[in-house]
C-alpha cells in the first residue's frame, strides 16, 4: 500500500517536471573565445557534465545545470593552457569546478529561448543570461547558445593580467549540447 502510494507520488512528480535528458558528451562541447592583443583565441573545456530537463510546454519546470572541470581547459596552446590552469587564471587546484545553475527559462519565439542562472567561477557567483536555440537532429536535440562574461568580474587573470589591453575582459562562452530524451 505504502509502495503503491510512493509510486503514485513518484509518477506524479515526474509528470510535473520535464524529463531529464541523456547527454551525448562526445558530440557536445563547451568552448570559448578570448582575445589576446585583439587576436581571437579559441579554447574549450574537455570535461564537463550537464543536466538538462527541458520541455518547451513546461518552461516553468525546465532547468539546466552545467559543471565544468576547470583543469580540463584547452586554452589553444600548450603554453596558454599551463597558464590558464594556474593561480592567476582559473586556479584549478583550488577551484576544480565552475558551475552554472539555471534560475529560469523563457521563450524568445520559435526555437529560440533564453536561460538565466547563476554562474560560479573561482568562488565568485554572478548572474548570466544566455539565448539559445533548440533544434532536432535525428533523434537528438541540439541546444546551442552563447553568452559573454567579463573575466575580471570573476578574478580570472589576477595581478599583472589585470589589464584588458593584452587579454580582453570579454570572453565569449559557447555551448552546444546534444541530448536524447529519457534515460
Amino acid at each position: 500500500m505504502r509502495f503503491a502510494l510512493f509510486c503514485t507520488l513518484l509518477i506524479a512528480a515526474t509528470a510535473a517536471v520535464a524529463a531529464p535528458l541523456t547527454i551525448d558528451y562526445p558530440k557536445s562541447s563547451v568552448t570559448f573565445v578570448s582575445k589576446q592583443m585583439n587576436v581571437p583565441t579559441p579554447g574549450r573545456f574537455k570535461k564537463f557534465s550537464a543536466a538538462i530537463e527541458f520541455d518547451p510546454a513546461k518552461l516553468d519546470t525546465s532547468k539546466a545545470t552545467l559543471e565544468l572541470d576547470t583543469g580540463s581547459i584547452d586554452a589553444g596552446s600548450a603554453e596558454g593552457t599551463d597558464e590558464a590552469i594556474g593561480k592567476a587564471w582559473l586556479h584549478a587546484a583550488k577551484f576544480p569546478k565552475a558551475t552554472f545553475t539555471s534560475t529560469g527559462v523563457k521563450s524568445l519565439g520559435g526555437d529560440r529561448f533564453e536561460i538565466s542562472g547563476q554562474l560560479t567561477i573561482k568562488g565568485k557567483t554572478l548572474p548570466v543570461t544566455a539565448p539559445f536555440t533548440v533544434k532536432t537532429q535525428g533523434d537528438r536535440q541540439v541546444y546551442e547558445g552563447a553568452f559573454l562574461i567579463k573575466r575580471l568580474d570573476f578574478g580570472i587573470g589576477d595581478g599583472p593580467w589585470n589589464d584588458p589591453d593584452t587579454v580582453a575582459n570579454e570572453v565569449q562562452v559557447k555551448f552546444r549540447i546534444l541530448a536524447a530524451p529519457g534515460k
Binding site: 589576446q36 592583443m37 585583439n38 587576436v39 581571437p40 583565441t41 579559441p42 589553444g76 596552446s77 600548450a78 603554453e79 599551463d82 597558464e83 599583472p160 593580467w161 589589464d163 589591453d165 593584452t166 587579454v167
Partner: protein, 183 residues
C-alpha cells in the same frame, strides 16, 4: 664624381630593412626567453607586426630592384668574388622573405591568427596543427640564424672591401662616408 653610388631609394630600402630586421631579430630572442606575462604577449604581437612590415618592405624592394640595376662592382674583383657576392646577395633576399613567411605560417599552425597592428586580420594559409607548428618554429628560428650568419658575412665583406681592398663598395651604401677614389 664619377664613382657609381647607390641611388637614394636603394640606400633607404637597404638601411630601413637592415635596422628593422636587426631590431626584430633581437626582439625575437628576448621575447622567446621571457616567462609568460602580458609583456610577452605584447612583444609577440609587435614581433609579428614588424615581421609583416618587413615582408612587405622586402617585396617592394625586390619589385623596385627588378627595374633598377645596381651600380657595377669594382673592376678589381675576380670572377669568383663576383659570383660569391651575387650568391650571397641572392641568399640574403631569399632569407629576408623566408624568415617572415615561416613566422606567419608558424603562427597559423600554432592556432594564432596574425592581426596586423591589432586591426587587420591576415588570412591563415594553414589550419591549426601542433606537429607542423613545431616544425615551422624550428624552420623560422634556424632561418633567422642563417640570415644572421649571412648578415655577418655581408658586413665582413663590406669591411674587407673598405679596409683591405680600399675600394668604394662601403662608401656607396653608407651615407656620409667619403669615397676613396673618383673626382
Amino acid at each position: 664624381m664619377s664613382i657609381p653610388r647607390y641611388t637614394a631609394v636603394a640606400v633607404l630600402f637597404h638601411w630601413l630593412i637592415a635596422v628593422a630586421i636587426g631590431s626584430n631579430f633581437v626582439l625575437g630572442l628576448v621575447m622567446t626567453d621571457m616567462a609568460m606575462s602580458p609583456a610577452k604577449l605584447k612583444y609577440y604581437s609587435y614581433h609579428k607586426w614588424a615581421g609583416v612590415t618587413i615582408f612587405l618592405l622586402v617585396l617592394l624592394r625586390i619589385l623596385w630592384r627588378l627595374f633598377h640595376r645596381p651600380p657595377e662592382l669594382p673592376a678589381h674583383m675576380k670572377t669568383w668574388e663576383r659570383a660569391l657576392a651575387g650568391v650571397s646577395h641572392l641568399l640574403l633576399y631569399a632569407a629576408t622573405l623566408a624568415v617572415p613567411l615561416t613566422g606567419w605560417l608558424f603562427s597559423s599552425a600554432k592556432g594564432f591568427k596574425t592581426v596586423y597592428f591589432g586591426k587587420w586580420p591576415i588570412p591563415d594559409l594553414l589550419d591549426k596543427n601542433p606537429l607542423l607548428a613545431d616544425l615551422l618554429k624550428e624552420a623560422h628560428e634556424n632561418l633567422a640564424f642563417l640570415m644572421a650568419a649571412l648578415v655577418v658575412l655581408h658586413v665582413a665583406a663590406a669591411l674587407k672591401h673598405h679596409f683591405i681592398d680600399r675600394d668604394d663598395i662601403l662608401a656607396r651604401m653608407v651615407p656620409g662616408l667619403r669615397p676613396r677614389t673618383g673626382g
